[in-house]
Amino acid sequence: MAFLNLAFAFLYQLGDAFSFLVLAACGLAVVFGMMGVINLAHGELIMCGAYVTVATTRAGLPLPLGILSGALVAGAVGMLLERLVIRHLYGRPLDTIVATWGISLVATQGTLILLGSSMPGVGTPLGSFAVGSYSYSAYRVVLMLAAILVLVGLYAVFNATRFGTLARATIQVPHMAEALGVDTRAIYALTFGIGAALAGLTGGLYAPTMTIVPTMGTTFIMEAFVTVVVGGADIFLGTAPAALVLGAVRALLTSWQGQLFGQIGLLVTVILVIRVLPSGISGLILRERA
């Protein structure tokens, strides 16, 4: 029984780390897989989702609706950014990253100026449950389910809808897709919006568990980066397995030495992995298949 309790504790830790990595990285991975650019303002979109969620929830909206509104607002902000900045930088991936970093600085500092250094949050809902002598937060289990739902939902969107087909065509051969009448600009804009909305969703989901400060995005970005780097360009073949592997590393090291060593372990793992697999796990899987 004691062994089972310990096994459950580890599974819970693993699930927690997995869902954090998947949720932190999915929006980034969607945009990266589509356009080959990394959005350094990703963390600020997460922050935006969290702020909107907290504001609407405190104004009386139920939490799930608050989270949804956070995702929608972040998605709208993302599409606006795409229209104003990203659109002009297609074909210059490094410049896009640098420009999004500028946006990130403006967003963090602007939030600090407009809304102050912190915002009263909302409490973590759903209470806790106990297995053996340990007690666990039920909301964390909801987060794990949410991570899986997001993956399933993305799979459905990219494989079962007309938008998904057009998007995949645009990823594979943009010029050919354009020649066949696909409005690739609209596809790019929509994809960027989806990525931003996913970031907002992540912010909303984690808002009840965190302190709401303008710099809260930085809590997510390092984990999101390493997951996308290890995963490679394909979100299903890359991000999900990468999150599982990195989640195991993080869960093990965190329960052994604390959160910081979990992060250091992640980073070292990533640096070792890219030496062997430069295009990530999805690159390996695709190469084997080819």
């Binding site: 990253i97 500028g102 600085l105 910081l260």
Partner: protein
């Protein structure tokens, strides 16, 4: 003399011929006369600007010439800064040890760059990922140093002090007959840094106009072609990364010696963005443009901080976005190009259409 001059100019740098070098000499003379014209505080403050320029020049080499964008130069800045602190707090400043500490701290950064760069460049990861990994490294180092608050975090006599950072290390001290010369942030340090900066700038000019620089630019323009021509792309990029990171380390030690303190936030996200802003705004493709742009942006940033510290970072972020959108080569380079276009026209006396 002429041979050395010829090695200083070439296809990879803007500025050549007697006119440019006369202007360079004038600027250097003006910089040397500067301490007599302003008060001691301003001189120390300008020396503070000089501390940062080395990191910008290093990033210019890695990014502008090598085409590999590193977001984490502050990791080396912080590492060397802390190393200088630990070394000097333990050994002291006697017998010119601070200079040995600078050398050791810079060597430590070069070593770490060699190790990290080996995995990055020999793993052949793309430009996008390089930036992200290096940024992750500096962020993790910031978090690591920020949690070293307890008394158990000490190296010899030096407490790391967590988020408050280390302080109280001795400034640079030159052994001098008849008493050590302590370089407080004042006229003496200003001259030392000005000399070091001029030497570094000229040495980098020689480097990028030599074979190494030409190959590096060939790799930036087309890695596959450079490889087909028989150059080991990985070695050249690693070389540029190590040199650039050592310069970032040099900035870190000089900054630590200047202010006699170093904190984890010098490796944070905002700190990491600043070198990228200087180099992007000035002009990443040219050393002179980076030098001028860095000093201009640093000065502007400080002026903004005085009038409204909150808004300075917003302006910096906007400046970066605007630079990338409207002047991808950098404002200084764009300005020089525009001047170059205007100048011959005026000389020929062509009437405006």
């Amino acid at each position: 003399m002429l041979r050395i001059l010829r090695r200083l100019e070439g296809p990879q740098t803007i500025g050549r011929g007697p006119a440019f070098w006369a202007a360079f000499g004038l600027v250097l003379a003006a910089a040397a006369a500067y301490p007599w014209l302003v008060d001691g505080y301003t001189v120390g403050n300008t020396a503070y600007f000089f501390c940062w320029v080395f990191m910008a020049l290093g990033l210019c080499l890695i990014w502008g010439y090598g085409g590999a964008l590193s977001f984490g130069q502050t990791a080396f800045f912080g590492l060397s800064g802390y190393a200088y602190g630990v070394l000097t707090l333990n050994v002291g400043a006697a017998y010119g040890f601070t200079l040995v500490a600078v050398a050791l701290a810079v060597a430590l950064s070069a070593l770490m760059a060699l190790l990290l760069g080996y995995f990055l460049f020999f793993g052949r990861i793309g430009g996008v990922f390089l930036g992200i990994i290096t940024l992750s490294v500096t962020l993790v180092m910031e978090r690591f140093m920020a949690q070293t608050a307890g008394p158990e975090w000490r190296i010899g006599a030096a407490r790391l002090n967590g988020y408050n950072g280390m302080s109280g290390m001795p400034p640079l001290t030159l052994p001098w007959p008849g008493g050590d010369l302590v370089l407080f942030p004042d006229v003496a340090l200003y001259y030392a840094l000005l000399g070091l900066l001029a030497v570094t700038y000229l040495a980098l000019r020689i480097l990028v106009n030599a074979r190494f620089g030409n190959v590096l630019v060939a790799i930036r323009e087309n890695p596959e072609r450079a490889e087909m021509l028989g150059y080991d792309v990985r070695r050249y990029q690693l070389g540029a990364f190590v040199i650039g990171s050592a310069l970032a380390g040099l900035s870190g030690t000089l900054y630590t010696a200047w202010g006699q303190y170093i904190t984890p936030s010098s490796m944070g996200l905002t700190a990491a963005a600043l070198p990228v802003i200087w180099v992007a705004v000035g002009g990443r493709g040219d050393l002179t443009a980076t030098l001028v742009g860095t000093l201009a942006v640093l000065g502007g940033f400080q002026a903004l901080t005085i009038y409204g510290s909150q808004y300075a970072l917003v302006v910096m972020g906007l400046l970066l976005v605007v630079a990338v959108l409207t002047a991808p080569e950098g404002f200084v380079v764009a300005l020089l190009r525009a001047l170059g276009r205007a100048w011959p026209g005026r000389r020929r006396g062509a009437p405006a259409p």
